[in-house]
């Protein structure tokens, strides 16, 4: 498969250094990241908190300029954000001064009125917010707000979604449900999704492939392909083995005792 069709997203030797972020000392955020994402693929990027995953995603989306290397999407260099690729923010980018329907229709302001109304209705229904069209975001729960943002992104009919820990602020059960819903939306809409998270379990549930980043300056440690069919069973041996593989790549013993015994060894 690889190499036969052109990749959707191609990162070539991508590096980023914040110039003089701390006392004038340049701060390397990530280094020589090479990645190839196929059309319609669901790729999760995991790594320890603060390793530069979010910065990487912002560079790929065109919000930040890279200091080295290239981002190619459909063979074209990415320099600015594009409405064919929508970013879903960790902090929730839903506009609080617009109602749910106005938010969902924000990306299609220039569509004919009737068409726009139909699209809004369709995606409001898809994310399960029918009946809340006229509500303001402040009247919604965190999970509902995140659905508004997903509906807004899908309504613009992008071919790529960038998701930066979109479920990070949600409670445990809402998070589980949002993951399942995202998978079913992705299976229907066949978007290419690049999803950043620090939650290995989340990546295991969602991704075709999991890209494991190292601590800052981040590099790609390894890429693990998750071949298990969805929905994935948490206690299947294969699942557990793959998850432990990710933990190991991240430098964590899956039992959580690895670092403690290491510390003991070094003190001996």
């Amino acid at each position: 498969m690889e190499g036969t069709s052109p990749p959707k997203i191609l990162l070539r030797d991508l590096s980023m250094t914040f110039p003089g972020a701390m006392n004038g000392v340049p701060l390397p955020v990530f280094e020589r990241v090479n990645l190839r994402v196929e059309e319609g693929e669901f790729v999760c990027i995991v790594g320890p908190s603060g390793c530069g995953k979010t910065t990487l995603l912002n560079v790929i989306a065109g919000f930040l300029k890279t200091t080295g290397g290239h981002v190619l999407i459909d063979g074209e260099e990415v320099l600015v954000p594009d409405h064919r690729r929508i970013f879903i923010f960790q902090e929730c980018g839903v506009f609080p001064w617009l109602r749910v329907d106005e938010n969902v229709g924000f990306g299609i302001l220039h569509s004919p009125k009737e068409n726009r109304r139909r699209i809004i209705r369709h995606y409001v229904e898809m994310v399960g917010l029918t009946g809340f069209e006229k509500a303001y975001p402040s009247e919604l729960s965190g999970g509902m707000k995140q659905r508004v943002e997903i509906a807004r992104a899908l309504a613009a009919n992008p071919d790529v979604l960038f998701m930066d820990e979109p479920f990070g602020a949600l409670d445990y059960f809402t998070r589980l449900r949002m993951r399942a819903e995202l998978v079913s939306i992705w299976e229907r809409e066949k978007k290419t999704i690049l999803f950043v998270t620090h939650d290995v379990e989340e990546a295991m549930q969602l991704a075709d492939r999991v890209v494991v980043m190292s601590r800052r300056p981040a590099t790609i440690r390894t890429i693990i392909e998750i071949t298990l069919p969805r929905p994935r069973v948490l206690d299947a041996q294969e699942y557990i083995d793959m998850r432990n593989g990710i933990f190991e790549a991240m430098g964590l013993d899956h039992s959580g005792l690895g670092s403690a015994s290491d510390a003991k060894k070094s003190s001996d």
Binding site: H83, E91, G93, F95, W97, F106, A156
Partner: protein, 257 residues
Amino acid sequence: MRSSLERILLPVGVTSCFIALWHGLVLWSGSTIFPTPVDAFTGIVELMRHGVLLNYIVASLFRVSVGFLLAVLIGIPAGLFVGWFGRAFSAFNPLIQILRPISPIAWIPVAILWFGLSDLAPIFLIFLSSIFPILTATIAAVQNIQLVYLRAARNFHVHGLALFKKIILPATMPQIITGIRLALGIAWLVVVAAEMIAVNSGLGYLIIDARNAGKRYDLVVAGMILIGLIGLILDLAIRKLQQLDEVRWGFQSFAAR
């Protein structure tokens, strides 16, 4: 039920205590000049009978409205401009910060020099007193717009005038309204001072005139009470702005308290 009863009983009780204390203190001191609440109330009635009261209220409100609206019309666009463009901020902010702490009262001699004893002098003073809270609030509001909103807008290719109308203005509106509310409160404080010196009509003039023409302190206090009541009505009116659907999000934590 209990809380709505409290909402009425508590303020009524406290205000009644205040009036009773006032009454008692005046009687105890034996003062023949300072009015009791009853004297002040009959003062208000006397002013209403006299016929000038309504003219004075209208005169004060007119000056406040013109000066305040001018400040809104100039302050909001100027604040958006200075807040949005970093270079404009570096250029104008120091000047704003130097002018801002000068009390509008200090401008009274200057206002009289420039505009004489006319309506323009108090209007100018009202304008000066309202423009700085509006400017400061608007500049801060623009600079505090959350990056996600701007990025989301860029992502959907919303630029230029559309960005201004759909993102910048609504995102800053709650903070601007807070600035406007503050400005109107200050404007109402300043009009009284300005009218004491620069003109011969209005509620400020009423107070100073009542004192000068025969030490009528019952009318002085009557004027003070009217100023307080009208100020309260103005604030309640402007608070309605905070309840508009488009800006309510900015006052959530306040409303929840």
